[in-house]
């Protein structure tokens, strides 16, 4: 416990120091290539599931070929242990993704996101289309913890754990943002939406600052550790936003992805926003974006097209492989010291 609490400040320090040098993080991608061509039951023509960035900067597939892996969350004590939200449930690996066990049973399916509590890393949260699942044994078994969530309207797209204290968790649901301080034993709604909350992120710079994206209320910001939320001005609210990413290397830098609108960036902490689609394909359906915590490189996953990268935070783009892919998520994992 102490160890991990220490680890965090240290982490951000390191990233500053070592920027450009040997990366302090591994990058894991979760997603599918050759999408569209694949329908359930059809022959696979490509590997899907987990990709890991190679030393050369390419991406290597790892483990099983599984087309419906959405995202993963890693055990801070041992990055070979991570949990993946997949179509069939939550899969857990203890050997870096080579072999898997599904911890959920038939009563949980299609988790949309999963997250380990960094301060209680045996505890894992899963966002489910019909609620919320919790494991307290490293993903071996799962129970529902939905006290305080509504009977209907608890479609949960995203779950995020506050790095400052164990059991403090936010859930992005169909009807708003829900919050627990006791490891999901009790939930309460802290923000109401008419449609699904798609992403919730905590600032790497200020642990009290949070951002969220939604399907019908644009982006939201909280400056009080998520207790109150307000709309972010300068962003459209009529189309779904898919996710938000902070730049751990540069305060104020934020990027938001949208299928129908493309990529937005802000370099002033969200006060103003710019569309950064120039250099992206005309059909700039950005499914996900992310920022490399070591280098500040901006990633945009253009759905069905390819992975695009920008080293000037979206001013210019480079087509960077993974053709016809759908990248569901980018996860940067701190490297344990050699």
């Amino acid at each position: 416990m102490k160890k991990t609490l220490l680890a965090f400040p240290l982490l951000w320090l390191l990233t500053g120091l070592l920027a450009g040098a040997v990366p302090a993080h591994d990058l894991y991608l979760f997603g599918a290539v050759n999408i569209g061509g694949r329908v359930i039951g059809s022959r696979d023509t490509a590997k899907n599931g987990v990709y890991v960035r190679t030393a050369e900067g390419g991406f290597a597939h790892r483990g099983i070929n599984y087309p419906a892996m959405l995202t993963g969350s890693f055990d801070p004590r041992d990055p070979r242990v991570f949990h993946v939200a997949a179509l069939c449930g939550v899969l857990t690996t203890t050997d870096g993704g080579h072999s898997w066990r599904i911890g959920t049973s038939w009563d949980m399916t299609e988790p949309k996101s999963v997250m380990v509590d960094p301060n209680a890393p045996d505890t894992v949260y899963a966002a489910l289309p019909d609620g919320l699942g919790v494991s307290t044994d490293r993903g071996h078994s799962w129970q529902r913890r939905e006290q305080g969530l509504p009977a209907r309207g608890k479609y949960t797209q995203v779950v995020t754990v506050d790095r400052t204290s164990a059991g403090r968790v936010f859930a992005g649901c169909e009807t708003g943002i829900y919050f627990t301080e006791d490891g999901a034993k009790n939930w309460r709604r802290v923000f109401v939406t008419v449609d699904t909350v798609t992403d919730i992120r905590q600032s790497p710079h200020e642990e009290r600052v949070w951002l969220a994206t939604t399907q019908s209320a644009g982006a939201l910001i909280s400056r009080d550790s998520g207790l109150t939320w307000a709309g972010v001005s300068g962003l459209p609210a009529d189309q779904a936003l898919y996710n938000v990413a902070f730049d751990a290397t540069t305060r104020g830098r934020i990027a938001i992805a949208s299928w129908s609108l493309g990529l937005f960036t802000s370099e002033d902490g969200g006060a103003t926003w710019t569309v950064r689609n120039a250099g992206l394909p005309a059909n700039h359906r950005v499914w996900r974006n992310a920022v490399d915590p070591d280098t500040g490189r901006l990633y945009a996953a253009v759905d069905g097209e390819a992975l695009f990268t920008s080293d000037d935070f979206g001013h210019t783009w480079r087509r960077d492989g993974l053709e016809t892919s759908r990248i569901q998520s980018f996860v940067f994992v701190p490297r344990t010291q050699p």
């Binding site: 359930i40 696979d44 179509l87 069939c88 209907r152």
Partner: protein, 632 residues
């Protein structure tokens, strides 16, 4: 999703398919138990033989051919060899991979080479099939997992793809199967009367009945299979599945015979030709079909049409993740079957987001092959919100996706395969009233009525009724708003470019073309009244009778109809209100799980009674008991 039809391995098109190409089958010489049994096995063997005859010595066996060899206990060495080759390739197919390999594992367990058996076993460690997202996916997935973990008990988690031990997987699979059977026998199936997916239930249930070493699971499999086959018998018109379908496709919804369901009608009862390639998946039923004994009682239900019968059933919608106060909408299904035609419907609304078919009048034809023997109307709804209701997905991309996933019609305005929250339907006997109230901004702002190329004497009377003949059936169709005619174009798949999935173009079919009646008015309605030609001296007499029926309707502010049916029933039906029949509001909430001459069950009772005349079979899932009795 419909994808599985695209998957058929038609290695064998060259070979003749006797029953498919033959004239319509006649009745059996008699209906004594041994005759029915013999005829059933002959049909089963025809299916198996078709695969064997297609074997080309120059070509490697298909997976199906290898399986049939094992079932016939021929050339186990050849099959073993071929299985090793097949498993050396990368595997895919998910639950559609699982049940075929389960069948091979069991059919070959006492004849395959140790290497082949080991290869099959290892594939269940190295290949990670997805569980999918539909009722039928899960039934296939868990039935296969249940059986394979029985075949390989006591093995540790690392020997199974999902990391769970044999015991863990077996327990999980059993839990789900019992849970699913529980739902299906208390409030009904979600994928009810599916034109194709019936196979995805029948095949796993047959496998459980045949191969489970747990006698209770064998019995449950048998009982569920009984229920499926009895329901099929009860919902078919001379072998053709008609009426509402939780899920069908653009073709089967009009060429009603052309469905995997017809394979089961044919196999079980033999009174209809099977679909081409025995429906593709049919072979996987055939390989174990000898272990099922269709009760003569079902045969009677399927073939006895010499009386009119009405059946009311309770079903449910697909599970709704969001945008709904209920997880599953109750579906109230009405079926009315006569010798010459059948009328079927549910009350409207969303049962499945993409593939549902709500209502139709389908008429009997001497030979249903190639015939579009049905009439209905629908609201062509295209809504990503509705898709999000049922799929755990983002809004923007799914409509595009659907085309690429083999549902080319989803977004198009002239589609005829659709259900809609803006359609409400009432049926009494052979009268249907469908009302539509489409809010602004909903795509599309029109309704489509399907008029088959096989209709005769289509007459647009000045009364506003459109009259037509189908087979020995007279039809009257009343659009409640102005309309125009369009030819119904087909969908042709184009070569795939890159990773974009299926690509389609519309085309004009050869010869006679179906038409759709397009009525571009958001407040709208359709009345259809059917009758047997035998009931009238002439077509003109029918028209006169219909024109004489008292009918009053308005479309504003919302559609409302007062109509006295051909059967003398007074119907008042206002969009958004409960229909009123002869002064009494229809109380759907009191409907049973099954209620009619052949199938009866209380809601929540887990106990279905199947009857014909003096013969009865009771399936009691509370006590896992099958009871056959004959009333003396």
């Amino acid at each position: 999703m419909k994808k599985f039809l695209a998957l058929l391995l038609l290695a064998t098109v060259a070979v003749a398919q006797p029953s498919y190409e033959a004239p319509m089958p006649g009745p059996p010489p008699d209906t004594r138990p041994d005759t029915l049994r013999r005829a059933y096995l002959e049909r089963v063997n025809e299916t198996l033989d078709w695969y064997l005859e297609a074997i080309d010595p120059a070509k490697p066996l298909t997976r199906e051919q290898a399986l049939v060899k094992l079932v016939r206990r021929e050339d186990a060495d050849l099959a073993s060899q071929r299985i090793l080759e097949l498993l050396a390739e990368p595997q895919s197919g998910d639950m559609f991979w699982m049940f075929p390999w389960t069948a091979i594992a069991f059919a070959g367990r006492d004849q395959l080479s140790p290497e082949a058996r080991a290869a099959i076993r290892d594939a269940w460690r190295t290949y990670f099939p997805m569980r999918g997202d539909t009722e039928n996916h899960w039934v296939m997935y868990y039935s296969s997992l249940f059986l394979m973990t029985e075949l390989y008990p006591g093995e540790p988690g690392e020997t199974w793809f999902n990391g769970k031990s044999s015991a863990e997987n077996h327990a999980e699979a059993r839990d789900f199967l019992l849970h699913w059977m529980d739902i299906a026998t208390t409030i009904g199936q979600g994928e009810f009367n599916a034109t194709h997916y019936i196979g995805e239930y029948a095949i796993p249930m047959l496998y459980l009945a045949t191969w489970s070493e747990d006698p209770a699971m064998r019995q449950r499999g048998r009982m569920l299979l009984d229920l499926l086959m009895a329901e099929l018998a009860d919902n078919t018109l001379h072998g053709v599945l008609r009426g509402p379908n939780a899920r069908t496709d653009d073709n089967s919804v009009i060429q009603r015979w052309h469905a995997l369901a017809t394979y089961f009608s044919w196999t079980m009862y033999g009174h209809i030709p099977p679909p081409p390639h025995y429906g593709g998946w049919g072979i996987y039923f055939a390989i174990a079909a000898a272990h099922y004994d269709p009760p003569p009682l079902f045969y009677r239900i399927a073939t006895d049409r010499e009386y009119d019968r009405e059946q009311h059933d309770h079903k449910r919608s697909r599970r709704r993740w969001r945008y709904s106060d209920v997880e599953m909408m109750p579906v109230y299904k009405t079926g009315y079957i006569r010798r010459d035609y059948a009328v079927g419907s549910y009350q409207g609304g969303l049962s499945d987001p993409i593939q549902a078919h709500v209502w139709d009048v389908t008429w009997a034809v001497p030979d249903p092959r190639g015939v579009h023997n049905t009439i209905f109307s629908t609201h062509p709804l295209s809504s990503s919100r509705v898709l999000q209701m049922y799929f755990t997905e983002y809004p923007d991309w799914m409509i595009d996706l659907l085309a690429s996933q083999g549902k080319p019609s989803y977004g198009v305005p002239d589609k005829i395969l659709s259900c809609s929250p803006y359609e409400q339907v009432f049926q009494d006997l052979d009268t249907i009233i469908a009302l539509y109230d489409i809010p602004p901004g909903i795509v599309h702002q029109r309704i489509n009525g399907f008029f088959s190329k096989d209709l005769l004497d289509v007459t647009e009377a000045k009364s506003g009724w459109i009259f037509a003949r189908g087979g020995n059936t007279y039809l009257a169709y009343r659009p409640l708003a102005p309309y125009a005619w369009e030819d119904l174009l087909g969908y042709r798949q184009l070569p795939r470019t890159g990773g974009s999935g299926y690509v389609w173009e519309r085309f004009r079919p050869e010869g006679e073309v179906d038409r759709i009646l397009v009525s571009p008015h958001p407040q709208n309605g359709t009345i259809v009244q059917a009758a047997s030609a035998d009931e009238f001296a002439s077509f003109a007499a029918f028209q006169a009778a219909i024109n004489a029926l008292p009918l009053a309707f308005t479309l504003q502010p919302t559609p409302a109809v007062k109509f006295t049916t051909l059967r003398g029933k007074q119907v008042e039906f206002t969009y958004g209100a409960a229909p009123v029949l002869d002064g009494k509001p229809v109380g759907y909430t009191s409907w049973k799980l099954f209620e009619g001459p052949h199938l009866n069950a209380e809601l929540g009772a887990r106990k279905i009674t199947i009857s014909h005349g003096r013969q009865h079979r009771v399936l009691d899932f509370n006590t896992v008991t099958t009871t056959d009795y004959v009333t003396p």
